[in-house]
Amino acid sequence: MPSISFLPLTNLGSAMPWGLWISVYVWLIGISTGSFLLVCLSSLLKSDSLKSGRQQFLLLALCALGGALLCVNLDLGHIERSFELFTALNPVSPMSWMGKLYPLYALMLLILIFRRDVPLSRPVAIAGIIFALVLIVVESLLFAMPPGKAWHSPIAPVHFITISIASAVFAISLVFRWMVSDPEKTAGAESFARGATLLLALFIVVEITEIILSGGAGHLTHWAGVLVTLLAMLMYLRTPFSTLASITGLVGTGLAKYFSIVSAQYHQPFVGFSGAYTEPKVLFAYAPSGFELFAALAIIAGCVVGLFILNKVVPSLPGRTNK
């Protein structure tokens, strides 16, 4: 079978192999697993905060997962061989484990969405929290394991957990506002907003720590994501569940992820390495191509449209208010 690849349409290279698509993939997976984690957590704590929109938040997790997997597949050099991620196993490869965990995760979401007779009981909630944390940590190991990279940090798993939760907070708030009900009129929404603010503050602290530990404190790009997220958090504090705050927050966490992934690759393995051999595809320089931007935005838009369509099509849980 001839190979299928969109890489020739990107500005990626051998020196900068991962760019916008991998950043969007990680960001969407964070939204997905973070949303699932928060839904399970609120169930475990017997909180009403996310009860009314549970169906929508699980659909959000499912759509974000689908978008993430589409994005990461787009980034392969041999898309036609992507099935090998499910069939081959390298026990020490985080990506190999992700290929096995994602289908299980998708199945779990589908069961919880389509089977009303499977309640989010305490054991299910605990299993869900553990599974979501495992997914996030395994994904963080993909970046944390390689020696010599700025990602190689003991704080990486914590960083990934907090950014996933922060992204999910903003995504859930947006879904809450636009698909569930007016948060001001919904029981539990205020407690969610309070809890969310604390989680966002925790993310800001962890992100700043990660920037300092990775040696990026002197570079403005490293701070772009955390500053935008900090702004979003302040907006959220002022007006919880505001659309502008939520979108700003999603942009902030997306930027944080993008600059974290891309900027770490600017670091050359040796002094003078880039000057030893110079060709366009081995330069330590990267800016997404038009096609990369278009594809990423299309996938994100597809997730949003998919969410709205599924929300109309899938039977809802009792108590959901249609918007």
Partner: protein, 291 residues
Amino acid sequence: MSNESTRKTISRKDFLRTGIAAGALAGLASVAQGADATGKSSPIQPAVPWKEGDDILIRMQSDLHKALAKPRNQRKWGMVIDLRKCVGCHACTIACKAENVLPPGVVYRRVINAGSGTYPDLKQKSVPVLCNHCEKPSCVKACPVNATHKREDGIVAMNYKTCIGCRACLTACPYGARSSDFGEFYTASTPALQAYETRPSFEYREPRPRKKGRSPIGNARKCHFCTQRIESGQLPACVTTCIGKATIFGDRSDESGYLANLIRETNPRGLKEEYGLEPHVLYIGLEGVKL
């Protein structure tokens, strides 16, 4: 007299006929040996006998042939680069490019100009860097489909048919030794793609023409110690090309071999040893080099 001359003539004709036939048979045999119809690497090329005082390349080739006589799992390929001899000509980079038909964006070996010493006693050294064929390779750990694997002879190899092109191995390698083939050609924007780009390489002993829609386009690629050459009794291209004879290649497990002796005598070091990857490309004269 005429009978005698006739006998001589017949003898010369017979001799010529026999000689031509023998020569043709010998030629066919050599062609059959050197050109496999499937394109697979030819059987081991005969080595030039080595004796004390001969060129180091002949010594290395002799050691190579000794190693090839052993089962594969008893060979442990390694390399030592003598930075005292490297002149920074980059011939090894180009030889590798030519031997493996490497496209734009793919480079297996590059030569860094590195400084050493402190002012005013400054020096410059040329440091070739390539895949170190580590004992504990981080790239093998990262590969989700086992396309990158450590062979029993020590070479960290790629399976081009399995690689999905995720480039996790590129980010996992701390030496920047890996490349990704994005399917580019040097002569793509010219009126015609040139044959020197589309001709097959013989990496891993298989003919691999570079065509869109086919591996190795889309794959991760890296130095493999010119497996197609060493398994047919030839030294890697960078070794034979080096004008300073700075690159030494051989079987680390051969205690009497040139490589093992050199390692014992000079105690060379690897790059980034602190990562614990145990590289098998070692350097003489690395002390004080700022990389």
